[in-house]
């Protein structure tokens, strides 16, 4: 496989995953706004933080307002992490690597782009927003379905899933980090209804609220939430799950190419760290510090994969 093709697959998958994650953040923010009269600056602020575009937003807009945030994060092509911009980049990468994709998969990605572009031609009204977000969710599911159902389990698949999981791990860590302060035991309003709503938003942003309730029977504590999103390998958006999957892909590349690369060491070290650490250690040493460190290592792994598999000259 061409190094450039591997790069295209990896970035296609990352951007596709990012588009979906960003849409999910808006969904969570929107839901908070519906359930809480005073939902405002702080919640939408954490949406742009978790989406990774707080600075870019504040350069363009003076105040944090629901409609402005939604538009910026959903439609604004000048914002490189908006859903439209990331989907466009994902599709460009898919076009670049068309020869590596099944026809079904390419069509589902192309469809994702065409229907979303059409749906977001104008700014959706508040009444239309849930439908648009739902559409994005469905289209994303279709891409995942065609990937799972039609792609050969070879290096093509491995590079796609490395992209998906590295992006997803980054996103989950970012969601937690954007709200880490409401998870701290020192938080002044522990147990208040405000906290409950905030915690729920974290879980929703990671599509984990139902699973959490189901596993924890309604007993919501900050530590349990953080434990769930970081260490529970049953949850497909947890850091532990992401790294389990990353290991599988790297093993796959090892068995096909017969060569162990530096990125394998980085991934192994990070996976070992996730296994050896408990949520108590994390809270003792600082959740924010843990997440910052994780995101740094996750980024370093991504960079090393780019080197190891000759994505660029």
């Amino acid at each position: 496989m061409l190094g450039r093709t591997a790069a295209g697959l990896f970035w296609m998958a990352r951007y596709m995953e990012r588009a979906e994650n960003t849409a999910r953040l808006i969904e969570a923010g929107f839901r908070m706004a519906l359930t809480r009269a005073e939902a405002g600056e702080e919640e939408w602020g954490s949406v742009i933080t978790a989406a990774g575009c707080r600075d870019a937003y504040l350069e363009k807009h003076e105040t944090i307002r629901a409609d402005k945030v939604i538009d910026f994060v959903l439609r604004d092509r000048s914002n490189p992490v908006s859903v439209m911009a990331t989907l466009h980049t994902a599709r460009e990468n898919a076009r670049m690597t068309r020869t590596a994709l099944t026809r079904e998969m390419w069509e589902s990605i192309n469809d994702f782009w065409i229907t979303t572009k059409e749906a977001l031609r104008r700014a959706p009204s508040e009444a239309d927003l849930p439908e648009v977000l739902n559409l994005i969710r469905q289209q994303g599911a279709q891409v995942r379905g065609t990937t799972a159902g039609t792609m050969l389990r070879n290096d093509i698949y491995n590079f796609i899933f490395l992209g998906v999981m590295i992006e997803r791990a980054d996103s989950t860590a970012r969601i937690l980090d954007a709200k880490y302060y409401v998870l701290l035991p020192s938080s002044a309003s522990v147990g208040s209804s405000l906290d409950n709503v905030q915690w729920e938003m974290i879980l929703r942003s990671a599509s984990a609220e139902r699973a959490f309730q189901w596993l924890h029977g309604g007993k919501i504590t900050p530590m349990a939430i953080a434990d769930f999103l970081i260490f529970d390998a049953r949850l497909p958006r947890s850091l532990a799950y992401c790294y389990d999957t990353i290991s599988l892909q790297l093993e796959g590349l090892f068995s096909q190419y017969g060569q162990r690369m530096p990125s394998h060491d980085l991934a192994e070290a990070l996976e070992a760290r996730l296994t050896a650490t408990s949520i108590k250690d994390v809270f003792r040493d600082g959740l924010h510090e843990f997440l910052t460190d994780f995101m740094g290592r996750n980024g370093a792994l991504s960079y090393q994969i780019v080197q190891d598999y000759r994505f660029m000259e």
């Binding site: 496989m1 061409l2 190094g3 450039r4 093709t5 591997a6 460009e92 076009r95 670049m96 068309r98 020869t99 026809r103 390419w106 069509e107 192309n110 469809d111 065409i114 290096d155 190419y257 060569q259 598999y309 000759r310 000259e313």
Partner: protein, 476 residues
């Protein structure tokens, strides 16, 4: 359907009833309603967009991809007609390859006084770097598209040769796929030759053209300028269908004198490169130094016999429209036979008498740039305004050698589906030809381009033309 007796309609002749190749199709068509057909037409558009069968138009600001209009009434050619065309095409393509070999070697045709020397030596498409070099198998143009037009039952003319980089073959294949999807029952009623073997035939043909020193199965790759090129879809499509890598210039590197592609496991040499970039951009060391699309040093690897470049650099001279005007001589010179396919009568504006005639008759002629393609920079006299003709006259006078002129041909028509039912539109035909040391292969079918505008004679997709599926029948 109204018929216009000035034009030969391939379905209904000159108003004298359905022609034989269309009889089975028309029998089927009689039982369709206009609404059902229009719905299929919309389905087909959706299918094209979803599949991403699009092209980018140069010069449009919003660089979005556009669809080429697809018309679902097929263009049908009988087996006998096709056999005749095939013989003519084979003869012509062999002559073109012999001509290219000759002009890069002894130039016998110039010595024999059949072609003026300056048309070769002063031609921008003539590459001095190719002089004296023997490409593998002595083949210059491996992939050829011969543009044909028709004016009557047995009157076919070659409008131009595309020996450099003919495009459109993906439409031939996708149009058929679409028709199979839309009207599966039709293909059990009418026996149509398959076109779907083209990609494998292309791969085999390229493999057979590998350098003599190649030991294992040759590694083939398609070289594209990238996703912003107007024909990117086709490049990706062909690489995909052949099962070979689609590479860009920056994927390639010269390693130990061979062209190699950067894979996830290091550099891997390539034996045959089907390149879809122009000569100028091929090698920044040998041609345009600002090219970001090519491979530095590929010409040296080529000249060392380490890679086959298809089509060969310097092939474009055969597409020159001034050279075209000599094609009947060229065919005769190299094959010793009369050409089976006719050229369109052509005035070379470089010649004084011809220029005088052309200037006198601009309203009725088609004038083309000798190096032009894609329908750009041409004048269609009968369709042009007085002002356009006056402006063109100045350009022509300033640089006569830059132009040739041809009579406006009464191009045949084939009906297209419109809201008001079937209506005739002018068409041309580009069959696709593969050449390897083992012979010439013409795919039974081709790309039919159709002027979607009523009365228009310009079929180029860049000028709003559409396409049709092209059927070659198994019988007559």
């Amino acid at each position: 359907m109204a018929s216009d007796e000035n034009f030969f309609d391939e379905m209904r002749g000159r108003g004298d009833g359905v022609r034989a190749p269309y009889s089975d199709y028309c029998a089927w068509l009689e039982n369709r309603t206009a609404n059902a057909l229009l719905k299929k037409s919309r389905d087909a558009q959706t299918f094209f967009r979803r599949t991403g069968i699009t092209f980018n138009v140069y010069g449009e600001t919003e660089a979005d991809e556009r669809l080429i209009p697809f018309d679902l009434v097929p263009r049908i050619i009988g087996a006998g007609e096709w056999a005749q065309l095939t013989r003519g095409i084979e003869q012509r393509v062999k002559a073109i390859n012999a001509f290219l070999y000759d002009i890069y070697h002894r130039q016998e045709i110039v010595r024999a006084g059949r072609i003026p020397e300056h048309l070769i030596s002063q031609n921008d498409a003539f590459l001095p770097q190719m002089i004296g070099f023997d490409p593998p198998g002595s083949i210059y143009t491996h992939i050829v598209g011969v543009d044909l037009v028709r004016t009557g039952p047995n009157e076919f003319f070659v409008l131009e040769d595309n020996a450099r980089t003919p495009s459109g073959v993906s439409y031939m294949l996708e149009n058929r796929e679409t028709m199979l999807k839309m009207f599966p029952e039709l293909f059990s009623q009418v026996q149509v030759e398959r076109v779907s073997s083209y990609p494998m035939a292309l791969r085999k043909s390229l493999e057979r053209s590998a350098p003599a020193a190649t030991r294992d199965r040759p590694t083939v790759a398609v070289l594209t300028p990238g996703i912003h090129n107007s024909a990117y879809f086709e490049h990706a499509f062909l690489a995909d269908e052949m099962g070979v890598e689609l590479v860009e210039g920056h994927d390639l590197h010269i390693v130990d004198g061979r062209v190699a592609m950067r894979t996830t496991q290091g550099y891997e040499p390539i034996d045959v490169l089907y390149r879809r970039i122009d000569d100028d951009f091929l090698d920044p060391l040998n041609f345009r130094s600002d090219s970001m699309l090519g491979v530095a040093g590929i010409m040296d690897a080529y000249r060392a016999g380490n890679i086959t470049i298809a089509n060969a650099p310097g092939t474009g001279i055969a597409d020159d429209k001034a050279i075209y005007s000599y094609m009947p001589d060229i065919v005769e010179f190299y094959t010793g036979q009369k050409p089976l396919l006719q050229n369109v009568p052509t005035w070379r504006c470089a010649e004084k008498d011809a220029l005088a005639y052309v200037l006198e008759h601009l309203e009725e002629l088609v004038v083309k740039e000798v190096h032009g393609s894609g329908g750009y920079g041409m004048l269609v006299g009968p369709a042009a305004s007085k002002k356009e003709i006056a402006a063109f006259r100045q350009k022509l006078k300033a640089k006569p050698a830059n132009y040739i002129a041809q009579p406006t041909l009464a191009l045949s028509t084939v009906p297209v589906l419109t809201r008001a039912g079937l209506s005739p539109r002018h068409v041309d035909l580009r069959p696709f030809v593969l050449v390897s040391p083992e012979g010439v292969n013409v795919t039974p079918g081709g790309l039919t381009r159709v002027a979607m505008k009523k009365g228009s004679l310009v079929v180029n997709s860049s000028q709003g033309g559409g396409t049709k599926d092209t059927w070659v029948l198994k019988g007559d």
